[in-house]
Symmetry: C3
Subunit: 200 residues, 3 copies
């Protein structure tokens, strides 16, 4: 139940981030909806397609579609007020990234994949919705250029597998991984930390 609430909050935050990018591009209502939809479910969809877990989740769980439709309608209606909830949205988004990383890792484990591949799937789950959003909007994906975003997922995933080796209850590594992702992301944004540049 607790995870379900986070999942839905994350879906809402991702969908609204899609609405904002799509409206910047002045897409029509259908375009805005599609961008919101792929931002919210694109990462999980790519993960499911790569491991062969089909039909993909959102085709069988209608709650995601209805959540996204509702989020898009509200975001369009209150588009001039979105700036007042920016901080909440950023928080939901960050919590969502943490949760999605762990969801992807669990799915990789269920399919018997190596830990490093599970971490990759977790990172894909959390970050490729935004990649597909940017591609559809004809932009180079923002997470390829700046923002410590995928890095937070990767470190959180490593943390999960380390914690999992300890003799503790199953829930600890899971929650610990989420907290690491959230912590790194918040610290990076707060202190404007980026990956070391590879250019002079």
């Amino acid at each position: 139940m607790f995870y379900f609430v986070i999942d839905i909050l994350g879906t809402i935050a991702f969908a609204i981030s899609g609405v904002m990018v799509a409206m910047d591009k002045r897409l029509d209502m259908f375009g805005v909806f599609i961008i919101a939809f792929v931002t919210a479910v694109g990462g999980g969809t790519l993960r499911d397609v790569l491991i062969g877990s089909t039909p993909v989740v959102w085709l069988t769980e209608t709650v995601y579609l209805f959540t996204i439709i509702g989020s898009v309608l509200l975001a369009i209606l209150f588009r001039n007020q979105l700036k007042y909830v920016r901080r909440s949205l950023f928080l939901f988004d960050t919590i969502g990234i943490g949760l999605y990383t762990m969801v992807g890792i669990q799915k990789g484990i269920a399919f018997g994949l190596a830990p490093i591949m599970c971490i990759g799937l977790g990172t894909i789950t959390a970050s490729f919705g935004g990649v597909i959003r940017d591609i559809l909007c004809n932009e180079i994906p923002v997470i390829f250029r700046k923002e410590v975003y995928a890095t937070a997922c990767i470190v959180g995933g490593l943390g999960y597998f380390l914690l999992e080796k300890l003799p503790v209850n199953d829930a600890y590594p899971y929650v610990g991984g989420i907290i690491i992702v959230i912590g790194i992301r918040l610290l990076a944004v707060r202190f404007k930390i980026a990956l070391p540049s590879i250019y002079r």
Copy 2:
């Protein structure tokens, strides 16, 4: 047999629309063929991948590949005459959209998905070939910006599920759905109807 003829006409129309976009971008012969191919089969391919119906249709039914190769060769040879058949192409394209919407819906039903997801799959089948075409040509997809295209698919899909509740022969809802899609698309283009704008 009747549906097969529509299917092939739709494939031709979609492929030629791909040729025209690709030639605008001055792609070489291989590029033109690939764009034509993804325009024609991209929507159905994405649908099949999402529900896990693999190998995707065109890998096992060679008729699509040969139809597209033939269409591309004819379209390149007679590229200066394409404008004279523009009206026919638009008609084939519109009929194709109607049929593909229903094909996608049927496949969703066969996989036991909820009606709203079937409508989504129908819309993806009919419209995502054009989306992939535009992405590969480095454009924001045209159906995200203008044109009542996906909307026609969605309303046609709703019409199908409403008609299907009536005590009538199975063919009626199917043909009825196709006619609704075609009707909305023709009216929208004829009277230049677009989705209401969400921008001031």
Copy 3:
């Protein structure tokens, strides 16, 4: 073993070509890695997803991921020296294309597909990593505009199926196909041969 060495050399060459394109776009380290990764495994991934051979190869064979991580680190470290190995990289890349074409064809045969579809899958395996790389970098794919690249794969694939009809050992058509792909590509680049233009 021999094929395995070629496979790894091809992976390295593809990954480094990804690094070079990504650094031209001034992506950050994570972006550079992702572009290198999709360039190296994107074609095989698309092939596996289309035929339904999941989980895709690189999820279960960790050697590809580690090869790519190593290649990216070396390429970034020695980025100013890359020009000195350009000729070797081009050769590995070309040998890789030849091998990947045959790998894709074999997989198509294993799934019982028609020869023309196997050739298509071979071409996808060899060339769509570069297509996805260019899309992610917001460019129209280079193989749609110039370079006899896919054409070499297609002709090599045809050669394979012709040789395979002869009463010879199984290895001959395989190696013959690879040599045809490599030969055409080398000749085309050496003599600057392109597809005949379809524009005035």
